[in-house]
Subunit: 205 residues, 2 copies
DNA sequence: AAATAATAAACCGATTCGGTTTATTGCAGA
DNA sequence: TCTGCAATAAACCGAATCGGTTTATTATTT
């Protein structure tokens, strides 16, 4: 893998994104090295020159994405944020910013999560058991629930907005441009503000 | 294809669902007849005996799903429903009921929509141009907007709930059981009621 | 110019592909 | 029970593709 790391960073990125795209659209077995090479704009042989094997590339990508995602989360998701909507906004913002760097990252991780190929499944379970954790659960902890009006159900609201966030990301899975992401995020933020205005007590607006 | 239609209906269904699953998880080129046969619990040869070719099977499935979906929509989506939430509920209900019959149907159609393989793309465009139509646009037409409170933005609300509906369906794409679907749908309905209670004028509740 | 590293392209045996053919089974009607 | 026929599984086909290696070519360094 030293060979790979010796490459200029923008080329590393091209290869990573090409591989993420192919692994993000296909199951492990059907994601061929040839397709990855084409997507990355290099010759097939180079993949094995850089990574040794398809499997090695695959697990390198898992590690890379995991570290990037959790790294961004730890760096930017301030523990002191107790406002429900701020926290949700922040989480979405991080996801979007990651997708701007690597558009196929989320669909790749999703495929990894659902992968069942015996050649990789057991090792996946080993390396990702710590990583995933329930976003749902830790989202609501430390949140100041007293800001909500009586009758407003934060858990339900969280569920709704989590779905929406999922759907938002999922409705444009192909080559999603940064501008498109911004447009949709702006709409999503409008939704958040809208909800906040309606479900917070007046004094917290 | 007469051979296929002569089969007992439950066997037809098994084959359809197997094929939908495989085509729903893979791009056309990577969805192999062998995998489909395994998923359907028949031998590979039978696929060609029933359908002639993989491509014929593929387009039969497109036609089948299209007819089923639009058929259900026309049958159940009453034109007289002018209530925003009733309409949304009805639409979701139809989608879920279709997914109960054929769990992989939606992901299959989704893949068809994004398919780019030259072997099938042009013919897809021909056969589906009429079918898709903008759900978003026709969702809001004929809806009684006067029921909303001042300050409630129905278009924004529709967007949010459409995303949520997308996310709801998309968060469990694998072998989703009917009970799971019911649980999630119940949650979604609770969200709808919740929104309705908050964004409708009092006299319409 | 010689040596060395990076890369593409040709190549390898093995596997899988879409599709066909053959062998086996189940089930009519006699 | 035998016979014929349709349904099916299993073996098979040449072609393509697979993961991976080797060779040839191009850049780069010395």
């Amino acid at each position: 893998m030293e060979k790979f790391f010796a490459l200029p960073p923008e080329k590393q990125k091209r290869i990573i994104d090409g591989a993420l795209t192919v692994f993000g659209r296909n199951v492990y077995r059907k994601a061929s090295a040839g397709d990855i090479a084409v997507a990355a704009g290099i010759s097939k042989g180079m993949i094995f020159h850089y990574f040794g094997s398809k499997k090695d590339l695959y697990f390198y990508l898992i590690e890379f994405c995991g570290k990037l995602l959790t790294g961004e989360m730890e760096k930017r998701l301030d523990k002191n944020v107790t406002d429900f909507f701020d926290k949700l906004k922040l989480t979405t913002e991080i996801q979007i910013s990651v997708m701007k760097q690597h558009p196929a990252l989320l669909s790749f991780l999703r495929n990894v999560f659902f992968e069942t190929d015996p050649e990789v499944e057991s090792e996946i379970k080993k390396t990702t058991s710590a990583g995933v954790a329930s976003t749902q659960g830790m989202m609501i902890e430390g949140v100041d629930l007293t800001k909500f009006k009586d009758g407003a159900d934060p858990a339900l609201l969280l569920k709704l907005l989590t779905w929406a966030s999922e759907g938002l990301v999922n409705t444009m899975p192909m080559g999603v441009s940064a501008e498109d992401l911004d447009v949709h995020m702006a709409d999503f933020y409008k939704c958040l503000d809208f909800m906040k205005n309606n479900f917070y007590k007046g004094e917290y607006l």
